[in-house]
Symmetry: D3
Subunit: 155 residues, 6 copies
């Protein structure tokens, strides 16, 4: 594949709009997927209207948040990650593709295990992202349920 | 005005979905508004297609980000802030209303001053939000342009 | 809280776009929420595909209409209601916040009582809106199910 | 063309969801298109950022409101108007098609004349709609700029 | 009804944007509706979370695809079909209206029969569309489930 | 990177929903981007309202169509392309990433050359897609402006 972006390589990730890329939106969305799974699994099954209403809404939010993970990561991957960064982090395509597959998997199923894997892949992506930006990171527990670990910049 | 939410008061902000509220999305959006203003003011005026294309896109992104600020804050205010919190922080309604007015102002104009004010009001809201959650905060410079100060939780 | 909109106060609600504010959209949406609750409660519970299809769609429409109520009221409150109007109608913040809380409640539950309360709060808001515009109002039954009372301008 | 909806004919416009059809949303949107044209024509041409920002936003709102007219009318036409009503009002297809063509025209141009024609066609549709519902109508001036005439039900 | 588009008649379907109209998007969406019905009918009924998750998603996709059929056809009908084409194909209004009614029917029910009828009406529309463009058509089986017949241009 | 989808590998691209993947939507969108560039470059520059209205709309359509290209390709790549296909077509990640970069480039600029490159990359993707499905392809001129070549299945 010939390199179609030779010119951009020099200035790297600085196109207009250089934009404000921040993986935290995708991380919050991945946490929300896990949270929805937890809530769905905690519900007493019933055929009452209240149950049907709640479960339908949880599925919908899970859908939206998983889609948001995929959309946000696609934007950063497509706009911020350029050939020089790919050379530096050749695993980035696989991580992003994993996020896409996991994002679909957690929409299609109600799986805590795969939802946590989704968050973990997003954290790997965030780790690389901040490394490219030259910002140190640390791993902390999210300050709200499901309190899973997220990689955040040290500011 | 009678209190229509007497029952909820006891368990406060714990409705299903308790949700994952995080003012960072609104803060990132407010930073993006400032960034768009900076980019718009830095452009050489011209009637070239490139200029028209760029300026139109900047206006659109500014619109969307300002709307996102308003939408995100409205959700947290409407779903997380309940009567007990209002009693504790009676200024919350005015802060939120200011955010709505400023959010419209920065859509209608290209004003760095008002965009920064918008971010400041969102920071005030974030400050109160984390205080309610019992999480300490600090003020840091955002790790990307426009590098304005944001209030974040100490995790 | 300092007044951040001193200049606008003089010309009040006349920014470009002065816009065409009309609470009727929010009122129609609130009626639709009640209608959905009525339809949901009237369904024979079953596990047939037809039932599942219908109930899922009703939940979705209820979600969308409740969200529309909140969005439309937020717009009028944020863009049309300025400090002079707040001074004149100091209860407006509480009415709007009630609409936000009730709007979430009727999404989270299937409750005719709360849906009617939502419409009533929206009617209060409409009453104040038309009073600000100097237009008289009357209370009429909506010309379609659920035929609840709505406050409309006398034209 | 064979009649594919023989069964529905008996109960006519009463499918679930019978829904809450109200042409007022389309009428408000048509008024908004006229309003945008008026605002656009009233602007002093300039190359200032403020002008570019405003004109871009006006085009966008005009787009959205014209689209809303088309979408709302399509819904009522497709869901509420059934073969018996078409027999009674054979001109309905032409009115709806005119609304579609005019809706596109006012998006593609800045034309007060065509925008008013759009509103007039929507009023014709509203007139027929309320006649089908057995509700009398009257023609009044809208209570906000552009103060054009709209057909409303007598409630 | 007077002819409101006398001037356009001469140049027919060549307004800016003449656009790129292609009924294939509506045809793919109609195929997707049939596919969803097939998948829904093939599921083992159960009250497990997995089933609820799947069935809710299928209903949602069916909704969206049926809506897409209606939206895409409305655009081509409103923007591409002008009075001269209506004179040539006077049945076009009825076909489009049938698509609207069938599009709502397949949202409201889980019906393979009606979903296939929807595709057939969309095929009729595609047939006329390509005839207007002067492009020959043929009928082929879609290269993916549900493998129903679609009318495509001979290119 | 460990293989997180070992189980799926056996049944490959057959998850529910196996879905109806068709790259034609992305191809039509890529053609639309080229068309918009052609229309924009053909306009007489002016400061008239008509010009501003048209150019703003063209930028918006170009944005939307370029986004649609990226979104549609991301879906097929994420849901249909699984590890076995990646092994067979190891260049797929680079093609998809190129589409993302080119999709952003044609939003940020008005460039016929890059728009055509975008279509070409989408054609490469379509070529691989149909090869995986075991369907032969041919290259034809699109039956509408801009009449560029597209890879389509032989049906």
């Amino acid at each position: 594949m010939r390199n179609i972006f030779k010119i951009e390589e020099v200035k790297a990730h600085c196109d207009v709009p250089c934009g404000i890329y921040d993986p935290s939106t995708a991380q919050i969305a991945a946490l929300s997927v896990i949270r929805m799974v937890d809530l769905m699994e905690g519900l007493d099954k019933s055929d009452s209207l209240g149950y049907v209403n709640t479960i339908t809404r949880h599925v919908k939010v899970k859908e939206e948040e998983a889609e948001k993970v995929k959309h946000e990561i696609r934007i950063i991957w497509g706009d911020f990650i350029k050939p020089p960064q790919i050379e530096q982090f050749p695993e980035i395509h696989t991580i992003v593709h994993n996020i896409m597959m996991l994002g679909s998997h957690v929409r299609q199923h109600v799986s805590r295990e795969k939802s946590v894997e989704l968050l973990q892949e997003v954290n790997k992506f965030a780790q690389i992202f901040w490394q490219i930006k030259g910002v140190e990171t640390k791993t902390v527990k999210a300050p709200y349920a499901p309190n899973e670990e997220v990689v955040i910049p040290v500011l």
